[in-house]
């Protein structure tokens, strides 16, 4: 089987400061990889390098493209990378405002990716948008409302719908539950777990919240000071942490 994503020796510096150093891993289709660490550990830098938002100093990010198999996305033309970003990839931002168009209706937000890849039938776009609002548990009667009027949890669910509508093969998520109330987090996590299982999504999720990876991730990488200090199956890492830092991380939060 071909891996979906193969990362080799990825490094990114900011001046003399190490963002992330020499990160390598493989993501298989249908797998969810969690990346945990406290803020400043380099996990967001890593995610942004993977998704093409930042240019790393060294390394390769190979993605299993539909036409040509594994290709280094860093060596792609900008146009190819943008095409990937709006078709096979999706990116869920921590702050829904970064991932939504706040002055465009919920339906328009969900429909944008469809239109970007050529959908030109208003009725079809609208029915797909309706279907997706329903799937993320947003009242379909609010399809013409702007996300400004939505609660934080609804905005985040809308962002997820907007990302998943084109059936992406790889989803990047940056602290998807950050900034939400605990009860809202639980509902969102539940919804995400359902989507991940039902759609067989492949995803890379960055979070500082071990509850998120416990529920969603098959495998786990622990980062500290820009480096991966431990990785393995989620349950294994969380139940039997080897690295001192991971032990500290696990012991410092309530067990789920």
């Amino acid at each position: 089987m071909t891996p979906l994503l193969q990362v080799e020796g990825l490094s990114k510096h900011y001046g003399n400061f190490l963002g992330c150093g020499d990160v390598s891993f493989t993501l298989w289709p249908g797998e969810v990889m969690g990346i945990v660490g406290e803020s400043g550990s380099g996990k967001s830098t890593l995610l942004n390098c993977l998704a093409g938002h930042l240019t790393p100093d060294a390394g390769r990010v190979l993605f299993d493209t539909r036409e040509q198999g594994l290709r280094d996305t860093l060596a792609m033309a900008e146009s190819e990378r943008r095409w990937l970003a709006r078709t096979d990839w999706a990116f869920v931002h921590q702050n829904p405002r970064d991932g939504l168009r706040m002055n465009v209706s919920a339906g328009g937000n969900v429909g944008e990716r469809l239109m970007a890849v050529g959908a030109r039938h208003y009725g079809n776009i609208r029915s797909q948008a309706t279907d997706w609002l329903d799937r993320v548990e947003i009242d379909t009667g609010r399809i013409d409302d702007r996300p400004r009027a939505f609660s934080g949890g609804m905005q985040q669910r809308l962002q997820i719908a907007r990302n998943l509508v084109t059936g992406p093969r790889l989803v990047f998520m940056d602290e998807p539950t950050g900034g939400l109330d605990v009860s809202v987090q639980a509902r969102l996590l539940d919804l995400m777990r359902g989507l991940v299982r039902r759609l067989g999504l492949s995803a890379v999720i960055v979070t500082h919240d071990l509850a998120v990876v416990r529920l969603l991730a098959d495998r786990l990488m622990v980062m500290k000071d820009g480096r991966v200090v431990e990785d393995g199956l989620t349950d294994q890492v969380l139940d039997d942490p080897q690295h001192a830092y991971t032990q500290l991380l696990v012991s410092s939060v309530l067990q789920v």
Binding site: G107, H121, D144
Partner: protein
């Protein structure tokens, strides 16, 4: 005016403009940056069109200038007089007689023919401008054909108003590639852009952009399959002067009691119909 070159601009500037025009013709719908010059009329009053016209003019040309479809609106008069003064070319009000027509906001009703050049004055050349204010970003969007956002805007119109609520400067796609702003012509005129026999040039002076539609270029107005583009105008009205029901009409308020009438915006078209009718009546 002997202190000035033929058609005001010096030859080096005209050469620069012609290069930009040629590039624009070679890449239909693509906005070519050019070094816009100060002209003796203000930016926003047709300097782009005037520069393009100046670069195209030769002494044998016959020039027509219209604004809002009419030859006698003040700004059209001013630009026409400018070229009479600095280029001493023949001028005309008749569409069929003109070799170059500079226009603001309209395309003449009389179909254009091969060999004619229609020069549009353009205020904001960037069709994506009001979706994305940054030039650096819109140029990338054009380069990568990243046009989803444009379609989203049309989607929003339908969701809110039940139709695409754009009456003028209605965006078009050129030869299936670049999205282009046709300048603020009413969307009634959009079909005339498509497959035109004439060369259509667009000049934006303040923004320093020239773009073009070579003759016989495919120009489609953006729409949805189930909400197709329609070229609309005042419904069910006829011109009070010539009786035309197929031309674009201006509304004229005739009294303060709500009285009004509709007349052709294209004064040449209207006058020639009136003349033909009075000939028929005489005969």
């Amino acid at each position: 005016m002997s202190a000035y070159n033929f058609a005001y601009l010096d030859e080096a500037t005209k050469r620069m403009l012609r290069r930009a025009i040629l590039k624009a013709v070679a890449i239909p719908g693509y906005q070519v940056p050019f070094s816009s010059r100060e002209m003796p009329m203000p930016y926003g009053w047709g300097t782009g069109g005037v520069q393009v016209t100046a670069a195209c003019l030769v002494p044998e040309d016959t020039l027509k200038v219209i604004d809002q479809g009419a030859d006698d609106t003040t700004n059209a008069v001013s630009i026409r007089k400018f070229f009479e003064r600095v280029a001493d070319v023949a001028v005309t009000g008749q569409t069929a007689e003109a070799s170059i027509i500079q226009t603001r906001h309209r395309i003449p009703e009389t179909p254009l023919t091969e060999g004619q050049i229609l020069v549009f004055q353009v205020p904001i050349p960037e069709p994506l401008r009001f979706l994305e204010p940054r030039e650096t970003e819109t140029r990338v969007m054009h380069a990568l054909e990243d046009y989803g956002l444009m379609q989203v805007r049309l989607y929003e119109d339908i969701a809110r108003h039940g139709e695409i609520a754009r009456a003028y400067a209605y965006p078009v796609r050129v030869e299936g590639r670049y999205i282009m702003d046709p300048s603020p012509i009413p969307k009634f005129d959009n079909p005339k852009l498509d497959n035109s026999h004439a060369l259509q040039l667009f000049g934006a002076g303040r923004e320093g952009r020239i773009y073009a539609l070579p003759p016989y270029t495919r120009v489609e107005s953006l729409d949805f399959e189930d909400y197709p583009f329609t070229a609309t105008k005042a419904a069910g009205q006829a011109c009070a002067l010539c009786g035309s029901t197929s031309s674009y009409l201006d509304e004229v308020i005739t009294d303060d009691a709500g009285g009004r009438m509709f007349v052709c915006s294209d004064t040449d078209y209207c006058a020639s119909r009136v003349a033909a009718q009075s000939q028929e009546d005489a005969a």
